[in-house]
């Protein structure tokens, strides 16, 4: 029961999807806009539950399912991003559905399932749960991308996304197989422990190979160059609100898990030596340059935004490259706090942009070429304003959230101790200027060009209007009072590396040979039994863990490992009890 409460954010989203399907069946045909509200409320509830419940790190394992979840603020933050983006997308999609002949409620249910997948992905500890989360997220999106059944582009977009996404998932699975082969475990914490200990036939080469595969697979999902070919076509063919969700939520979830996997593997010196961190730098610069240059020559607003999404993936990769030393807990690096904030600002802006763009569709035949958009701004002042605010936030204009996100991210990149940190930022800033050209081009066409023909667009609906207003307000809030969100981002970033949980267990095993009693002053989370006691058959016996600790602290430890030396148990517990009190 306590467990059920602890994972309630997950099942609330899944249940929301099921409820949406059931209501859809029960209500027969007709307007189904209330389903969007059901899904929006359900997903918002799930996000709120996550933020309320997942504070101190708790590890839940379900032995019969081989599923291990790590519930902490990292999962809460990224899960909330995915769920809230899903809620906004459901509302934004309302005016689209009747015109496209897809007013059947499946869009809403699929958005809820997809959000569930994303939430599962960011809390998964074992690689199979992680794969399952990724597939639930992706499979729902393949269908959503193809949901414009009347248009041949819809099916084509879905198919392209499906085939390339399927290969990417397969590669991620292969990475999981390699990590299993290297260590004999699918649990990320055990994998890390065994790699650090170098015991039991572990093989850092296989782990480094897995690291490359992870980079390729998740590079596909976040649309980083050179794994980006699908992006413009899929963004063009999918319904705009779905595209906004695809851009915001998939990037958020994929970057969260990419950061977790890469940083966890980099904890192992042997792996870090084989798989260089600078790959992220090169991929980031490549994405930024290619995305901003090729965006200039597009003439379809959705393709422009697709290339912009590739540019943003590049910025985020640079942000991921600019890791911070981890303080307080044994470990090397953690994600810097600007990346979660950036994902929040970017997701909101792209949902706003695509949602507003959707308003300009005409009579079921969606055409977003710039020539057709000419002068439509006068007929739809509100939607054009939303588009302007979102696009300027994407471009990084103050006082919107995108400006601050970009500024913070570049600050972190500059601070990296590398000869490439300054050139990288210079390139990124120049690319921002180039991409500003195509952002402003959309606005210029909408406001200043003469209308080509009739200017009828969608009649918007209250739901979509509400969601669009929410994105503008959120962008402004992020730009004007960013402090709480920046703090939240920093706390979320602190939980990226699971070594926090693993080193906790390591230290607990050394300090107290028997599993910690439930009545101990340590609070692992309300009513949840400490991880050691919960696991009936721990994959690594306590003895082995103790050996591991002894093993990875050799006397000739290099400087890096000096910092890894675990603090004494009591202090570590304190660190976990109050995340805010960390130095």
């Amino acid at each position: 029961m306590k467990d059920l409460v602890a994972i309630s954010p997950l099942w609330v989203s899944a249940l929301t999807g099921l409820v949406a399907m059931a209501l859809d069946l029960l209500t027969g045909s007709g307007r189904k806009s209330f389903l969007a509200w059901v899904v929006a409320i359900g997903l918002s509830l799930s996000a709120a539950l996550g933020l309320a419940l997942w504070r101190d790190p708790v590890i839940l394992s379900f032995p019969s399912l081989v599923a291990v979840l790590h519930l902490d603020f990292h999962g809460a933050f990224f899960g909330a991003l995915v769920a809230l983006f899903g809620a906004l997308a459901a509302l934004l999609a309302v005016p689209h559905l009747p015109e496209q002949g897809i007013d059947e409620g499946e869009t809403d249910a699929l958005l809820a399932f997809s959000a569930f997948g994303g939430q599962l992905l960011v809390v998964a500890v074992d690689l199979i749960t992680l794969f399952l989360g990724l597939e639930v997220l992706s499979l729902s999106l393949y269908v959503l991308a193809a949901s414009r059944r009347s248009s041949p582009f819809g099916a084509e977009a879905g198919l392209k996304y499906f085939l390339l996404g399927g290969v990417a998932s397969g590669l991620l699975l292969l990475a999981a197989a390699f990590l299993y082969g290297a260590t004999g475990s699918l649990d990320l914490r055990t994998i890390l422990d065994r790699l650090l200990a170098g015991s039991g036939g572990t093989d850092p080469t296989l782990a480094a190979l897995a690291l490359v595969l992870i980079l390729v697979a998740l590079g596909f999902k976040v649309a980083a160059v050179p794994f980006h070919f699908w992006t413009p076509d899929v963004y063009q063919g999918s319904p705009p609100p779905v595209t906004g969700y695809m851009a915001g939520a998939v990037k958020a979830a994929a970057f969260a898990v990419l950061a977790r996997l890469l940083l966890t593997l980099w904890e192992v010196p042997a792996v870090a030596a084989l798989g260089s961190r600078d790959v992220l730098l090169w991929l980031g610069i490549l994405s930024v340059v290619v995305g901003s240059v090729l965006g200039v020559v597009q003439d379809d607003a959705r393709r422009i935004l697709a290339w912009s999404s590739i540019v943003h993936a590049g910025y985020l990769l640079l942000g991921l490259w600019a890791v911070e030393p981890r303080e307080g807990i044994g470990g090397l690096w953690t994600l810097n706090g600007s990346v979660p904030f950036y994902l929040l600002a970017y997701g909101i802006a792209s949902l706003g942009a695509f949602g507003a763009l959707g308003v300009f569709a005409r009579g079921g035949h969606e055409d977003y070429r710039l020539a057709r958009l000419a002068g439509l701004g006068r007929g739809h002042p509100a939607a054009t304003f939303v588009l302007m605010a979102s696009v300027l936030s994407l471009a990084g204009m103050p006082p919107l959230g995108g400006f601050l996100a970009k500024f913070r991210l570049f600050q972190h990149v500059v601070a990296v101790d590398s000869p490439w940190s300054i050139p990288a930022v210079v390139i990124a800033v120049l690319a921002s200027v180039v991409s500003l050209y195509y952002y402003l081009r959309i606005l210029k066409v909408l406001y200043f060009d003469e209308p080509s023909e009739e200017t009828a667009g969608h009649a918007s609906s209250p739901a979509a209007a509400f969601a669009m207003a929410a994105t503008v307000v959120a962008s402004l809030v992020l730009g004007i009072v960013p402090t709480p969100f920046l703090d939240a981002g920093r706390r979320a970033a602190q939980g990226t590396v699971l070594a926090a949980g693993a080193s906790l267990e390591r230290v607990a095993a050394v300090a107290t040979p028997s599993p910690a009693p439930v009545s101990a002053p340590v609070r692992f989370g309300e009513g949840v039994v400490p991880p050691d006691a919960r696991r009936p058959a721990p994959p690594v016996p306590v003895q082995v863990i103790r050996d591991a600790v002894g093993g990875y602290r050799p006397p000739e430890a290099p400087l890096d490992q000096e910092r890894r030396r675990a603090p004494d148990g009591a202090r570590l517990m304190e660190v976990f009890r109050s995340p805010k009190a960390r130095p």
Binding site: I128, L132, L139, L174, G181
Partner: protein, 102 residues
């Protein structure tokens, strides 16, 4: 009966994965592309099972069952997309379905 070394199993599974990727990226028929995706996933399954045998551990067996279920779901989605493509293009030829360029 002599046992086949782990390396051979892994090389076989990598070959299957490579065949799968090449098939998805180069074959023009959607059904063959779907089959290639299956070959890819089954190659990974083989790697899982070989490693499980090597480690004397059964965790990966559960993983393989999960993967098989996911692969079935993936094929279901793929076939549904194939029907959608067929309605518009009149064939399952991926080149003819490819209309968006740029």
């Amino acid at each position: 009966m002599t046992s086949v070394p782990l390396t051979a199993w892994i090389l076989l599974s990598l070959a299957l994965v490579a065949i799968g990727i090449a098939g998805v990226l180069t074959r023009r028929n959607l059904l063959i592309a779907l089959m290639s995706l299956e070959i890819l996933l089954n190659g990974v399954n083989l790697a899982f099972l070989s490693f499980a045998r090597f480690h004397g551990d059964t965790t990966a067996h559960a993983a393989v069952l999960v993967v098989m279920a996911v692969a079935a779901a993936e094929v279901a989605v793929g076939l549904a997309l194939g029907i959608a493509i067929f309605r518009h293009a009149g064939s399952l030829d991926l080149d003819r379905a490819n209309r968006m360029k740029g």
